[in-house]
Amino acid sequence: MTRKQRRVVFIFSGLAVLGLALGLVLFALSGTITYFRTPSDLAQNPIPTGQRFRLGGLVADGSVKRGQSLDVEFQVTDTIKALPVVYRGVLPDLFREGQGVVAEGRLDPDGRFRADTVLAKHDENYMPPEVAKSLKEKGVKLGPDAVHPAGVTAVEAVKADEKQ
């Protein structure tokens, strides 16, 4: 086999693998990406019931309700709007009212967010970055000295929503 033929074989097999990989990448990207929304983003830019996405925001003060069973209910708010979340299982260590969280799951037909994973940051001092960024864009003050969503409890946020 000459150098040229050899090169042709290698180039073609290389291209075949690359083509396969590209196909896989495009297919996977179209099907598996999950969007990130805060509750008010979701109001502006809805996601259909049943599609997976990630919901970020702060756990609204006074909203965490533990049921009889393992179900936990709480509200996630970006201080403009709030969305009720239901979760079954063990919450992360740093899950607390007023703290940033990211929940992954789907909207159920009742308009509640059914989360299958709830993430809080490993470290006390920092928010999940998407949450921090989204809230900053909305003018919510963050950082160690900031007063977290005090005042705007979930209920008020929802009420404000109803008035509009």
Binding site: M1, V17, V25, A28, I33, F36, L70, G89
Partner: protein
């Protein structure tokens, strides 16, 4: 005072590395021996200076000197000694200092053990190595000074994040950095080769031990990180395709490819251009990993605390070295002489396939990691790419790789017979099939592809065993002869077999855990029972406990199987004193057949506790596989042919003839 010595040593190291960058390269250019010879003492001096600096910081940590801002931020006097020490690299500044320390350690190793290198090559390598050190020393001194003082000094520190107070996390960063930074050696050699305009088999022989050592460290570092995440994060998983994990995984994939292409270059003088490119890309991916983790562009559960200025600085370093390396490559690669011919069906061909698949796999991981960043920059949409993407893209690419792996070892150099190789692997194929059927019969549930994927793991393991047996003439020669031959096999052959066996073992572990993991969430009151995977667990309530710097609530679960007591699981919830932060400690019963894993959740209103249970079958195989890969690497490294410093000119020809 000691702190100021550390700071001063760091600045001196910067100046010395400036000399190390410029003088030897200049000497190599004008052919002046005395200028080139500056490289050796300069590399040693940089190492000694950075070491002094590192020890001074460590001293501040060990003695809890809270007048140093870095110590105040990340340490606490009540921490156990080991975590006061590991706290040095539990933060951005300190870990960067460790990064540089390992970098200059490698540089010094070349200076000391590289006596046999041609003078100009050694000068150029050390000069490139010096420039990397220079860039990072500038970075640490300008943006991340670990020696900043506080006045007045606080009485007590803020403490280290409790989840980092862990033996595995004391080891994980040094190993990971040794891996990242070790690839800088391959990079420096590649750049030096491009500057000199020549490479040969000897070049590959010099590069391989460094790449191999770096690869071994990275393998173990990633495995320890995965093991830590498994027991510490309490999610029952061992790999999450988190961007930060990917950041360390990409250099590993590229480094694995480099390791294999360097074999072709060493034995056959082929694939020179590709190997050099791969060496540049591997280190670039290491730099990118550093950038992604420290710049805060990624949203990850375990990224460092960040500051945009630092991100831009590292981005600059990355662009300079990657861009500069690739530009030099584009300009000079054409000058490199082509090597030997080979047919597509040959050892070389198999290693090319390995490289194509590994490089493509690296590409898919890269796209998955960077796509969210790119999309957000362009459209503002915030998305995340998770495990399903990687399973769909990375997974299928591994199938042909694993299928081809045993074949590769059986193909001869230059031109080979696929059929003959296939016949020698019939035994391995039989084992794989039987294994899959047995697995199907035993488990009888889970996805249909799982037994097939399991067969792939068995195939790779049996293939590795077959290779050793074949080379020892097992079944053809008498047992004494087989033993003698096994003993005389080159260590690199043993190394490859061990590593490949490790890959197979890891695949079986991954498949079994992924396909057949059981998970259960229960609410138990004391005295109540739960069952999972044939085990019965009785909850005996929660008791308070006290550790050196935390208080905890320990749940007790008595485990039995078929009425026989097995063990006790003690999952707990800890509250650390400083910072006051809760953590969850999993209770794990370790067994080769699978781990029983329990997490204690919140107390329920009715007096019970939420408890999350997992059974992770064969999960230990994953880390055991990584350890075998490491051992295989150590075997290869100890091969006389590759031993650092051993291959002198006269011996080299003898060694080649002997093979």
């Amino acid at each position: 005072m000691t702190v100021e010595i550390g700071h001063f040593a760091l600045i001196l190291a910067l100046l010395v590395s400036l000399v190390q960058t410029i003088v030897p390269a200049w000497g190599a250019r004008i052919g002046e021996q005395r200028l080139m010879a500056v490289a050796t003492p300069a590399a040693i001096a940089t190492f000694v200076l950075v070491l002094i600096s590192f020890l001074m910081l460590a001293e501040a940590y060990v003695t809890s000197d809270f007048s140093v801002a870095n110590v105040w931020n990340n340490s606490h006097s009540a921490k156990p000694f080991i975590y006061r020490l590991s706290g040095v690299w539990g933060n951005h500044e300190g870990s960067l200092l460790l990064w540089i320390l390992i970098l200059v350690l490698f540089g010094m190793a070349v200076a000391v053990f590289g006596g046999y290198l041609p003078a100009s090559l050694k000068a150029n390598v050390l000069s490139v190595q010096g420039s990397v050190a220079l860039a990072f020393l500038l970075f640490i001194i300008l943006t991340s000074n670990p020696f900043e003082r506080l006045d007045p000094a606080p009485l007590e520190g803020r403490g280290l994040n409790p989840i980092l107070q862990d033996p595995a996390l004391a080891l994980h960063p040094p190993l990971l950095y040794a891996g990242y930074v070790g690839f800088s050696m391959a990079f420096s050699f590649a750049i030096a080769a491009l500057i000199e305009g020549r490479t040969d088999a000897a070049w590959a022989r010099w590069v391989r031990p460094w790449t191999l050592a770096a690869w071994m460290c990275l393998t173990l570092g990633i495995a320890i990180g995965s093991w830590w995440a498994y027991y510490e994060l309490g999610w029952g998983g061992w790999w999450f395709w988190d961007p930060v994990e990917n950041a360390s995984f990409m250099p590993w994939l590229a480094g694995t490819a480099l390791l294999h292409s360097a074999v072709v270059m060493e034995k056959r003088e082929s694939l020179k251009v590709w190997t050099i490119l791969l060496a540049i890309l591997t280190f670039s991916l290491s730099l990118m990993g550093t950038f992604l983790v420290r710049s805060g562009v990624l949203s990850s559960v375990h990224a460092f605390a960040v500051d945009p200025e630092r991100g831009i600085f590292i981005l600059g370093i990355m662009i300079f070295f990657t861009g500069g390396g690739l530009a030099l490559f584009a300009a000079r690669a054409g000058a490199l002489r082509q090597g030997g011919l080979f047919s597509p069906i040959s050892r070389e061909g198999a290693l090319v396939l390995n490289n194509v698949l590994l490089a493509t796999a690296t590409g898919t991981v890269l796209i998955g990691t960077l796509y969210p960043l790119a999309l957000e920059a362009v459209t503002g949409a915030k998305i995340s790419v998770g495990a399903p993407y990687f399973n769909l893209t990375f997974g299928p690419l591994m199938v042909p790789l694993l299928l081809a792996m045993p074949f590769g070892s059986f193909l001869g150099w230059k031109r080979a017979d696929l059929k003959a190789a296939g016949e020698r692997l019939l035994f391995a194929a039989g084992i794989a099939l039987v294994g899959a059927v047995i697995a199907l019969a035993v488990v009888q549930r889970g996805p249909w592809a799982a037994p097939l994927a399991l067969a792939l793991g068995f195939w790779v393991m049996a293939g590795a065993v077959s290779e050793i047996l074949f080379r020892a003439r097992f079944g053809q020669a008498g047992s004494a002869e087989v033993m003698r031959r096994m003993f005389n096999l080159p260590r690199s052959a043993w190394g490859a077999a061990w590593s490949h066996f490790g890959v197979g073992l890891m695949v079986t572990g991954i498949v079994a855990t992924t396909a057949w993991q059981s998970e259960k969430i229960v609410a138990l009151k004391p005295g109540e029972r739960a069952e999972i995977a044939g085990y019965t667990l009785e909850f005996r309530g929660v008791q308070p406990g006290r550790g050196p710097n935390f208080s905890e609530e320990i749940g007790r679960l008595v485990v039995s199987r078929d009425g026989q007591p097995v063990t006790e699981l003690l999952p707990s919830k800890r509250l650390y004193d400083a910072p006051r932060q809760p953590t969850t400690e999993a209770g794990i019963h370790v067994a080769l057949s699978g781990d029983l894993y329990a997490i204690l959740g919140d107390a329920q209103s009715d007096g019970g506790h939420a408890i999350r249970l997992y059974f992770n079958p064969l999960v230990r195989f994953i880390w055991l596989g990584a350890v075998l890969m490491f051992i295989g690497g150590a075997f290869s490294l100890s091969d006389r042919r590759l031993r650092v410093g051993a291959p002198r000119k006269a011996r080299k020809t003898a060694a080649v003839a002997a093979e």
